[in-house]
C-alpha cells in the first residue's frame, strides 16, 4: 500500500509536469501511417511545419502513429482520429472508406498519381557477395534456397511481395505481353499462365521457413538471426536496411520484372471536418508532391514521382520493368478478393501444400 501511495504521488508530479504546455496559435494533425515511413515523415513533418508557418503563419504540430498497415486502418475505422492516413496499400484505405464511412469513395482521384506521391518496388536482399548467385525470381524456387517474407495475411508489404512474384510468373506465361490479359483470343494462354503463376507462388512459400507478421520483423529475422538466403522486400526497406544495419552484411538484387508499389495517402473527411483542419491537412499531403517533399521521399529511399527529382537519384533507383496492381490484378479490391481473403488463393495454397506433405 505504501508503494501505491508513492507511485500515486509520482504520477501526480508527472501530471503536473504535463500541464505546462506552451501556448500560441497552433493546429495539430494526426498522421496515421505504416511502418516503413517513420524516417520519411519525421523529416517531412519538420519541413512542412516550417513551410506552413511561412505560408499561413500558423504553428502546426504533426503527431505520428506507425504500425502494420492493416491494423492502422482498423484503428481508424474504430475511431482513431486521424486527419490523414498514409498507408501501404489502397485496399486498406478502401476499407476505411467502405467499413468506416470516413472518407469519400473517390479518395484516390483527389491527389495526383492515384494519390500515391511516392512509389517503391519489390526487390531481393541477399547476403554479402550473393553467395547463392540469386539473379531473378526463378532462383527463389531452387532447391538449395530458402526465402524470408512476412505473412500476407498480416502484412501489407508481404502482399506486395506476393503480387510481385505472381506478376512475374504471369508475365513469363504471357511472353511478356500484358495486352493478352484483355484479348479474348489469348484466353487459353492466360488461363495456363495463371495456373503456372499459382504454382510458382506456392513453390516460393514452400521455401519459407519463418513467416513473420510484419516487414520489419522479416528484415530482422533475415539480417539479425541469419535465417534464409533471400529476403523479399520493398526497395525502400532494403536500402534502409543496408544503410542502418551495415553495407557489409547484405546487398540488393533487382529482379527483371517487379511490381510498382504505390503507397497511397488520403485526407480523412469526417475527422478534418469535425476538427476544422481540412485546409492544413490537404496542404500537408499536397506538399508531398512539391520538389521538397519529393526530395525528402527520395532521400528516404522512396522513388519520387517528379521526373526531375527521380533523375537526380537515378543511381539509387535502377530501371526495371514495372507493372501495376491495376493493370494485372484489376485493382486492390479484386486482388484482395482473389488472393488474400478468407479461403482465397493464398489460404488454399497453404492447405494444398500441407496435403502434399511438402514440408
Amino acid at each position: 500500500m505504501r508503494t501505491a501511495a508513492v507511485l500515486a504521488m509520482l504520477a501526480l508530479a508527472c501530471l503536473a509536469g504535463c500541464s505546462t504546455d506552451d501556448q500560441g496559435a497552433r493546429v495539430e494533425l494526426l498522421n496515421v501511417s505504416y511502418d516503413p515511413t517513420r524516417e520519411l515523415y519525421r523529416e517531412f513533418n519538420d519541413a512542412f511545419a516550417r513551410e506552413w508557418r511561412e505560408r499561413a503563419g500558423e504553428t502546426v504540430r504533426i503527431k505520428q502513429s506507425h504500425g502494420g498497415s492493416g491494423s492502422q486502418a482498423r484503428a481508424v475505422i474504430d475511431g482513431l482520429a486521424a486527419d490523414v492516413v498514409t498507408l501501404a496499400l489502397a485496399y486498406d484505405i478502401n476499407s476505411i472508406q467502405e467499413r468506416g464511412k470516413r472518407l469519400g469513395a473517390h479518395w484516390q482521384s483527389r491527389f495526383p498519381y492515384n494519390s500515391a506521391p511516392y512509389t517503391s518496388t519489390i526487390v531481393f536482399l541477399v547476403r554479402h557477395g550473393n553467395p547463392r548467385g540469386i539473379r531473378d525470381w526463378p532462383d527463389l524456387v531452387r532447391p538449395d534456397v530458402t526465402v524470408v517474407t512476412p505473412n500476407p495475411k498480416t502484412s501489407g508489404g508481404a502482399r506486395w511481395n506476393y503480387l510481385a512474384a505472381w506478376g512475374y510468373a504471369l508475365h513469363r506465361g504471357l511472353d511478356g505481353d500484358w495486352s493478352k490479359l484483355d484479348d479474348p483470343a489469348a484466353e487459353a494462354q492466360v488461363a495456363a499462365a495463371r495456373e503456372a503463376a499459382a504454382r510458382f507462388v506456392a513453390e516460393i512459400y514452400r521455401h519459407v521457413p519463418v513467416l513473420d507478421s510484419g516487414a520489419r520483423g522479416s528484415t530482422n529475422t533475415f539480417v539479425q538471426r541469419g535465417v534464409g538466403d533471400v529476403l523479399i522486400t520493398w526497395e525502400n526497406e532494403a536500402l534502409l536496411a543496408i544503410e542502418s544495419l551495415g553495407p557489409n552484411q547484405v546487398e540488393i538484387v533487382v529482379p527483371s520484372v517487379s511490381i510498382l508499389a504505390e503507397p497511397p495517402v488520403a485526407v480523412v473527411d469526417t475527422v478534418v471536418d469535425r476538427k476544422g483542419t481540412r485546409q492544413v491537412a490537404e496542404a500537408y499531403l499536397q506538399h508531398l508532391y512539391s520538389p521538397e517533399g519529393q526530395r525528402i521521399a527520395a532521400r528516404h529511399h522512396f522513388r519520387p514521382r517528379d521526373p526531375e527529382v527521380l533523375a537526380e537519384h537515378r543511381a539509387k533507383f535502377p530501371e526495371l520493368e514495372l507493372f501495376t496492381v491495376g493493370e494485372v490484378f484489376g485493382g486492390w479490391n479484386r486482388a484482395h478478393e482473389e488472393h488474400f481473403a478468407e479461403n482465397a488463393l493464398f489460404d488454399r495454397m497453404l492447405r494444398a501444400s500441407r496435403r502434399a506433405g511438402a514440408r
Binding site: P209, R225, G226
Partner: protein, 279 residues
C-alpha cells in the same frame, strides 16, 4: 450471485463479495459479454466452420499443448527454484530472487526478441544446441521455451509464501517421532504447498494459452506447424472479420474456463477432504 453461505462469525462478507463482484463485472464480465454478443451475430454453421477449421484445430493443439508442457516444466523447476530461494542461503540469493519477476516486467516482445537472439542458430545457446541437432527457434520447442519463461514467476511466487509458512518445527517434530523422509514430505510439506503449486501451475498454463507477443518472434508462424491460436485471431482481425476473431477468442475462453474450473473444483475438493481428515 445468490450465494448461500455457511454461518461464520467473521464480518465483511457482504461488503467484500459485493465489491469484488461489482468490480469483476465492470472490468471483466461486461466486456467479455461484448465478445460473446459479437460471436452470436453469426449463425451456428458459420461458427462451427470457423471453430472446427482444420487449421484452427491444429493451432489449439499447439497453443494448449505447449502451454501445458511449459506449465509442467515450470511446476518442477519453479518448485526447485522456490525451495532453493527459501531454504538455502548463498551469495546472490536476494538478487536472483528479485529478478524472478522480470518476465512480467519485460514487455513480451522483448522477451521474444531476446530469446530468439539467444536460441537462434547463430545465437550463443542456439549454436550449442544445433551441434546436437536440436533446433529451438522457429519450432514448437521455441514456443515452449517462451511460454516457460512467461509462466515462471507464477509458480515461484505462489510457492514461495507457502514454503515460508511451512512450520519447520512441525517437520522436525514429525521426524523426531520417527517419520520417514518421504512421509514427512507427503504429510507435512506437500499438503501445505500443493494448493499454491497447483495455483501456480494453473496460472502459468492459462497465461501460456493466450500469449502472443513473445511467441510471435520465436515461432516460425507456419500454418499447421508453428501457428498459435492468438495469431489466427490477429489474422482474422486483419480481415476485418471481428466476428470470426471473436469466435476463436470465445472458443479459447470456453476451453480455458472449463480447464480452470476443473482445477479449481479439484482444489476445493482436496481442501474439504483435508479439513475433514484433520477433524
Amino acid at each position: 450471485m445468490n450465494a448461500v453461505r455457511a454461518p461464520s462469525i467473521l464480518p465483511g462478507f457482504g461488503m467484500t463479495l459485493g465489491f469484488s463482484t461489482f468490480f469483476l463485472c465492470a472490468i471483466v464480465l461486461i466486456p467479455l459479454a461484448a465478445l460473446v454478443m459479437r460471436t452470436a451475430t453469426m449463425g451456428w454453421e458459420e461458427f462451427l466452420a470457423i471453430v472446427l477449421d482444420e487449421r484452427a484445430v491444429a493451432s489449439y493443439r499447439l497453443s494448449f499443448g505447449a502451454a501445458l508442457l511449459a506449465a509442467f516444466i515450470n511446476s518442477v523447476f519453479g518448485f526447485v527454484v522456490a525451495w532453493t530461494l527459501v531454504r538455502y542461503e548463498f551469495p546472490g540469493r536476494k538478487l536472483i530472487d528479485a529478478f524472478i519477476d522480470m518476465p512480467f516486467a519485460l514487455p513480451t516482445a522483448v522477451s521474444g526478441i531476446a530469446l530468439t537472439a539467444v536460441f537462434a542458430e547463430n545465437g550463443p545457446l542456439g549454436q550449442l544446441l544445433a551441434a546436437y541437432g536440436i533446433r529451438v527457434a522457429y519450432t514448437w520447442v521455441g514456443i515452449v521455451v517462451a511460454l516457460t519463461l512467461i509462466g515462471l514467476p507464477f509458480v515461484v511466487r505462489s510457492v514461495q509464501p507457502a514454503l515460508l509458512e511451512v512450520q519447520r518445527d512441525l517437520e522436525d517434530a514429525a521426524e523426531t517421532l520417527g517419520a520417514g523422509r518421504f512421509y514427512t514430505f507427503r504429510r507435512i510439506i506437500l499438503p501445505t504447498v500443493l494448493p499454491a503449486l497447483l495455483t501456480g501451475f494453473t496460472m502459468a498454463f492459462a497465461r501460456g494459452v493466450g500469449e502472443y507477443g513473445s511467441v510471435i518472434f520465436i515461432a516460425g508462424n507456419l500454418p499447421f506447424e508453428t501457428e498459435i491460436t492468438p495469431l489466427l485471431i490477429v489474422i482474422k482481425l486483419e480481415e476485418f472479420d471481428y466476428a470470426g476473431a471473436a469466435a476463436l477468442g470465445f472458443i479459447m475462453l470456453v476451453i480455458s474456463f472449463v480447464m480452470l474450473l476443473s482445477i479449481n473444483l479439484l482444489q476445493a475438493w482436496g481442501r474439504r477432504r483435508m479439513v475433514a481428515a484433520g477433524r
